[in-house]
């Protein structure tokens, strides 16, 4: 379970998160929508400790992310993250990209790490690209590679930060399909996204962020239906339609 309790985040004078509460149970898929700059991505960074918080607490399986004694590297292994920019390691082949952290972080043998990597690359449909360098892969393929890389650490949770925003339109589908597959397999996911149809189809709950506040959270029928509770949600969804 991921528990976000009243977190506040400032970047200098900019108050990006203004007291966010969110609990995500195992197996749940939560999509976070909202305008750029509303704090959605920052929320993910705060959940896996890539950003410090000024107030509040985040617990992952009961362990406080921002507490002093927490082994953050260990905790992050359980929180796969996929970024807007796929950040493939350019000096490694697809297989080596995925096998790297199982080998050096989980201390698997090279053989074991490669098997894990191969399994995850097949999982995301890149079985014919094992020995290819990222420069020879399309953006969509690189993003699936990034998903495989995160999955190779065998995380319980996956965080997606606008995983399709930097992709050419024709490549968005393959990445969303991979994410759908994960959701179907029961992966616990928090997806920050601008893909409303994806959010509607896949989510158990959808959260709408507005200027650092979680305006509304509820099942997709509530958010995308005729009458979301918040006026801001309504306005946002009308504007992007």
């Amino acid at each position: 379970m991921i528990e976000v309790k009243n977190i506040h985040k400032n970047f200098g004078d900019l108050h990006v998160l203004k007291g966010i509460d969110l609990t995500v149970k195992k197996g749940e898929v939560v999509c976070v929508i909202g305008a750029s700059g509303s704090g959605k991505s920052t929320l993910l960074y705060c959940i896996n400790g890539l950003e410090k918080i000024q107030k509040g607490e985040v617990f992952v399986n009961g362990v406080s992310v921002h507490a002093k004694g927490t082994d953050i590297n260990k905790l992050r292994q359980n929180l796969g993250m996929v970024f807007q920019q796929w950040n493939s390691f350019p000096h490694l082949t697809a297989l080596e990209n995925v096998a790297l952290s199982p080998r050096i972080v989980k201390k698997m043998s090279k053989k074991e790490a490669n098997e894990t990597a191969k399994k995850q690359l097949i999982h995301v449909g890149l079985e014919d690209k094992l020995n290819v360098y990222p420069s020879a892969l399309s953006g969509g393929q690189q993003q699936r590679l990034a998903i495989a890389r995160a999955l190779a650490m065998d995380p319980e949770y996956m965080l997606f930060d606008e995983a399709t925003s930097a992709l050419d339109p024709e490549l968005v589908g393959e990445v969303l399909d991979t994410m759908r597959l994960l959701a179907k397999e029961g992966m616990t996911m928090i997806c920050v996204t601008h893909e409303m149809s994806f959010a509607r189809d896949v989510s158990d709950r959808v959260a709408y962020f507005h200027e650092g506040v979680m305006e509304e959270i509820g099942p997709p029928e509530q958010i995308f239906g005729k009458n979301p509770k918040s006026e801001n949600t309504k306005k946002f969804l009308t504007n992007i339609r």
Binding site: Y45, N48, L50, N73, K74, R76, Q77, L79, G80, M81, F83, Q85, N87, F89, P90, H91, L100, S101, I104, V105, K106, A146, R149, A150, M153
Partner: protein, 222 residues
Amino acid sequence: MEQSTAVVFFTGFQLRDIWYLAEAAGRTLLISIISITVGSILGCVFGWMLYSSKWLGAMTLGLVLDAFRSVPLIIQLILFFNFFPIIGVPLDPFTAGTFVLTIYTAALVANVVRGGIEAVGIPMRRSSRSLGMSYWQDMRYVVWPIGLRAVFPAWVGVALGVMKDSSLVSVLGYVELLRASQILITRTQEPFIVLAVAGAFYFALSYPLSKFSARLEGKWQS
């Protein structure tokens, strides 16, 4: 190494003079290899320090390194060579020259390395950290290989430059390639031949490095 000496003034350029130059080229190579190797290792450490602490970079280390980068090498050499005896540690020309050349290399490499680390970018590093890598694992397996490849051509430029700049150690009286050619010119009065041969030696020293680096870069690109 024993240096052969000319007995008679103004004798023509002979075959054994080539051996004399070759020995000197060996000294140029030795001084270059030591300075480039040690200087590059120091440069990596300094470059990392410049990158990781803006305060340190701007206020202390950065200033020192800037001084070494900006003051002409020939001035540094003469200053240090004359400075060491003052503090009671007289150094021979080879040690003093290598010392200055090493620090000079380190100053140049530090900035190259800092550029390399910066080239990797925060998003890439967040990716590796999000996979559970520690700071040092990220450095060792991600930042290091990506960043150093990015700045490798710049490093080769520094290394070739230092090899040629090692000729300035001649002002301390150390008989490396340039100094040896000057001696030969005085004796033979045949500057064209002597300088052509010396130039060929410099080329022979530099060419393998640039060839090797080109091949390495080609390998990385594919």
